[in-house]
Symmetry: C2
Subunit: 248 residues, 2 copies
């Protein structure tokens, strides 16, 4: 099922599903590894949404995010119990039913053997028309409905599935990132940053004050797709800084 050609993917959205994330019972842990993995692929994560175990809300958000982004990743709600509504919600979002996928059913049956019940086979449900994606490292495939990747909520399993994502998707170009750490307060840096931003419109410049760390006061990041342009913006700001404020 693994493909040797990766699909060019410009942007992405994440839909993180689970009452437990909004009640504070469980800390959300999948957004950061997803963001990091997509970044490394050159795919821009544009928004992430956290909602509860609500089938109608999943359907509505999947429909909207799927239309607005090249690819969507859902996380959570894929188990067999009453509060696992993601696969039905994704199916509703595309106005299709769910069905038991024969390949997944085979995997479930071979895992549970004679103990396999119809409840176990709920884990082989897919929206009608979904595809399975696997990779050499990950045997249990991921369900992909149109441009929606349905990923598990358990953080260890979510991370494992990112290996499959890396096998199948790639951004249009790598993102080049640089960072400077300065001992200047963000407000004092502002006029210099404004100048660098104005002179380097293709570079995304970010400014992040550090309040509770003596090692620096403001971190400045530079992101772009052309390395020489990124380096030029970095050198521009360095040239504007007063002496002695850089952490080297």
């Amino acid at each position: 099922m693994a493909s040797s050609v990766r699909a060019i993917t410009r942007n992405a959205a994440a839909l993180l599903i689970g009452n437990e994330l909004l009640s504070g019972k469980v800390e959300e842990r999948n957004l950061a590894p997803l963001a990091t993995s997509l970044r490394a692929l050159g795919i821009r994560l544009e928004r992430a949404l956290i909602i509860g175990d609500d089938r109608a809300a999943v359907a509505r958000e999947v429909r909207s995010l799927s239309a607005g982004h090249d690819v969507v990743f859902t996380s959570g709600g894929v188990g067999p119990t009453h509060d696992d509504v993601t696969l039905e919600g994704v199916a509703d979002g595309f106005a299709v039913a769910t069905e038991i996928h024969p390949h997944l059913a085979g995997l479930v049956k071979s895992h549970y053997g004679a103990a396999c019940t119809p409840d176990h086979l709920l884990m082989a449900r897919v929206p009608v028309g979904a595809q399975l994606r696997a990779s050499p490292e990950v045997q249990w495939p991921t369900v992909v409905m149109r441009n929606v990747w349905v990923m598990p909520g358990v953080p260890e399993l979510f991370r494992m599935k990112l290996l499959i994502v890396r096998e199948h998707l790639i951004g249009p170009s790598q993102i080049v990132s640089r960072a400077l750490f300065t001992q200047m307060e963000e407000t004092d840096l502002k006029p210099l940053l404004d100048r660098a931003v104005a002179l380097h419109p293709c570079i995304e410049i970010g400014s992040y004050p550090k309040w509770f760390d003596a090692s620096y006061k403001t971190k400045v990041t530079f992101d772009g797709v052309v390395e020489s342009q990124v380096e030029a913006a970095v050198e521009e700001l360095i040239g504007l800084l007063p002496a002695g404020v850089m952490r080297r």
Copy 2:
């Protein structure tokens, strides 16, 4: 500015703002403490959205979330630099301008003294019509525009501001939570859970498998506003469980 009467608040949404959260450069750390604090107050957090430093997107989402929820909390984008667009975005969302608030300007001036510049005063910007909320523990007030609380992104400051939230808002009733830890696989639990869910429609029952921890296999949570009803649902499920599967 602190009020002795807390406003009854049923539900909430969060708007977490920052390119760095979507690029994976910085891990989101404010949702969990917000969720926990609101839960303790009996306020239901219904959705959280993470977007980049995009003034138009902030305006659009603030308008939509503000209309659909009793209260909205934004996080991030309140500094003085070019990528801090939250206050302007919130103002746009309510179709007002921003202005320098005299009380905040006084705080900024007394903090910076003779070194205070117009750039420092950007930190005294508020949407026209905004109010300030403080508490006995937190001197620097939080900007509240209609039902939108504008909170800082720096996690230590965000947590501090939650003290002000607790001073001003309260849910309609406390939420009672119980949890059972079982040695049953989630799929085997499913028919028993379905029965407990059907018999206790007012209780929110959640099922959370633990994959990489030998101490239990599935955690079941019970939430409601009437303690006796929550306890009855817990006892119902305990009565359905086979012997020896509970972690006590």
